[in-house]
């Protein structure tokens, strides 16, 4: 059958569209010029400016603290949720599934706003603590979905076999379930960490004045047009980190598949 020539043309155009801004940004990060309208020679000055900026380092530290905390908590909650959804069929699990699934479709803005209202109503101090609670909340759903997909991939009779061979419940979890789940857990953790590090909207609503994370810092730099070329440099570094993370998670998920 003669295939339409449209799809490949559109695909090529879409890929150019997706990558053009990123490529221009990356090129400008090495441009000596301040406004990036013309090329004035190769330079690392924006990288040096970025590395010398104490506020950015503080924001990075806050992002890492929240990211690690939210990743660990959401891994525990999300894995347990996935096991519950996988093993049990009941009305409780239908409600559970709806609760796990809904945060994936709700716009960030609404989640940030509703959490802000909750924290204000409870009289909580806005800061890194509330950011951690908010990030864990949206990460749980992503972790649960990734781990659930992994659980659906393997044969449940392995666990029964282990029980029949005399393993206690804790031994089954530690020696059979966790090793089988490990790649899925690592991929879920990586996803949760990336989402947490990247989140701006929800963080902006619940952070309060002191708790500046990296995206909040980038936003205020853009909004007040301060240190703009340094954002180019920062985005190249973040792009490199993203690329590594995507590759790692693909490796983890595809590793032992045929």
């Amino acid at each position: 059958m003669r295939r339409s020539r449209w799809p490949p043309v559109v695909t090529a155009a879409v890929l150019v569209f997706l990558w053009l801004p990123i490529a221009v940004l990356a090129a400008n990060s090495f441009n000596r010029s301040r406004f990036g309208s013309s090329w004035e020679g190769l330079s690392l000055r924006w990288y040096r400016a970025l590395l010398a900026d104490a506020d950015t380092w503080r924001a990075l530290r806050n992002s890492l603290v929240v990211g690690v905390g939210a990743t660990l908590t959401s891994l525990a909650l999300g894995t347990s949720a996935a096991v519950a959804l996988h093993r049990h069929r009941s009305r409780l699990q239908r409600l559970h599934y709806a609760l796990v699934y809904s945060p994936l479709v709700v716009p960030d803005l609404l989640m940030g706003m509703s959490l802000l209202v909750l924290f204000v109503a409870l009289g909580a101090d806005l800061g890194l603590g509330t950011v951690y609670l908010a990030h864990t909340t949206f990460c749980v759903s992503y972790v649960a979905m990734v781990v659930l997909a992994r659980l659906q991939d393997f044969d449940p009779s392995i666990l029964e076999a282990a029980r029949d061979l005399g393993a206690g419940r804790w031994t089954v979890v530690r020696r059979v379930l966790l090793p089988l789940l490990a790649p899925g857990l690592a991929a879920a953790g990586l996803l949760a960490f990336t989402l947490s590090i990247d989140d701006f909207v929800i963080t902006f609503f619940v952070a309060g004045p002191g708790a500046t994370t990296l995206p909040v810092r980038v936003y205020s730099m853009i909004k007040h047009s301060r240190n703009l070329p340094a954002i180019n440099a920062l985005s190249v570094l973040m792009l490199a980190a993203t690329f590594t993370a995507v590759r790692a998670s693909r490796r983890l998920l595809q590793e032992d598949r045929p």
Binding site: W19, F35, A76, L95, L110, S114, D198, V218
Partner: protein, 292 residues
């Protein structure tokens, strides 16, 4: 294992996530609706007692243009994303496996890149002194006074850019499962290329198209950062109004009332999708009856 035992085990693995999400997702969502009926207190908090004053005040502010712009931009974004994602997702599903892995990676990496940085990149490109303007002026498509940034088309462009991968991935997944022999059969039975595409292929990947629509439309309705950074003061969407009420005016009840309205607006396409999804079995039954 006894039933009682099993039940206890179920609760043990369900309770942590169930409790967390009830407290930090379900409760706050409902709270937003409740706070719409509370007065504001002068310190940016929530006052005591119940009132309809917030809603009455909202009715007095002219929100019509903002709501119209929110709906218009979200609908246009969804339509453009689908128009690009259907050919693109189809193409990704058809190429050889080795190339497919590379192409998918090329779609996914921008999608994983920091959202703010992608918006920032567009600000640089659309800047009055930026590269895109210079190219357009050189080619003669724009005169030196054309304003690219801070306009409604700029908001639309960046929204399409941001949400496009959300549309491509579900359509690719559906197209990958679609049996291409069906298209050949349709052609053999006398359908033209357009007829085969509309009557056989589109219904075949229907679920993917529906998922893509929801994945683009719902977050688009809640856009806030894009109009804030590439739109001008006249390009506010509902999201910007919510943020203004919450941060500049420090009026949480009014921000809540607007959020409640936006929640209902986001639920509408979901409800519609649930209705549409019930239809395919009916269609199938009709087709079977016809065949018999």
């Amino acid at each position: 294992m006894t039933a009682d035992h099993l039940r206890r085990e179920e609760w043990a693995v369900t309770l942590p996530s169930l409790g967390w999400l009830l407290a930090l997702f379900a409760a706050p969502t409902l709270l937003v609706f409740a706070v719409s009926f509370r007065p504001a207190d002068p310190y940016g908090g929530i006052g005591a007692g119940w009132t309809l004053a917030t809603l009455r005040e909202m009715a007095r502010t002219p929100l019509g243009p903002v709501i119209a712009r929110t709906v218009r931009l979200s609908a246009l974004t969804t339509a453009i994303c689908l128009a690009l994602a259907i050919p693109c997702g189809t193409c990704l599903a058809r190429v050889a496996p080795r190339r497919q892995a590379v192409l998918l990676l090329l779609v996914v990496v921008p999608f994983w890149t920091s959202f703010l940085i992608r918006v920032f990149a567009w600000r640089m490109l659309l800047h009055p002194e930026g590269p895109l303007k210079r190219v357009l002026v050189t080619v003669g498509l724009a005169d030196p006074h054309t304003q690219l940034l801070y306009s409604e088309p700029a908001v639309l462009l960046v929204m399409v850019y941001t949400f496009l991968p959300f549309a491509i991935l579900p359509i690719y997944a559906a197209a990958e499962k679609f049996d291409l022999a069906l298209l050949e059969a349709a052609r053999d039975l006398g359908a033209g290329p357009w007829g085969a595409f509309v009557k056989v292929f589109l219904p075949g990947i229907g679920r993917g198209v529906l998922t893509a629509t929801l994945m683009v439309l719902i977050p688009a309705l809640g856009s806030y950062v894009i109009p804030d950074l590439v739109g001008g003061p006249g390009q506010d969407m509902l999201g910007n109004r919510i943020a203004q009420r919450a941060f500049s005016d420090r009026n949480l009840p009014q921000a809540s009332a607007l959020s409640a309205a936006l929640t209902l607006a986001a639920l509408a396409p979901m409800a519609l999708a649930a209705l549409v999804q019930r239809r395919p079995p009916a269609l199938e039954a009709a087709a079977r009856k016809e065949a018999a």
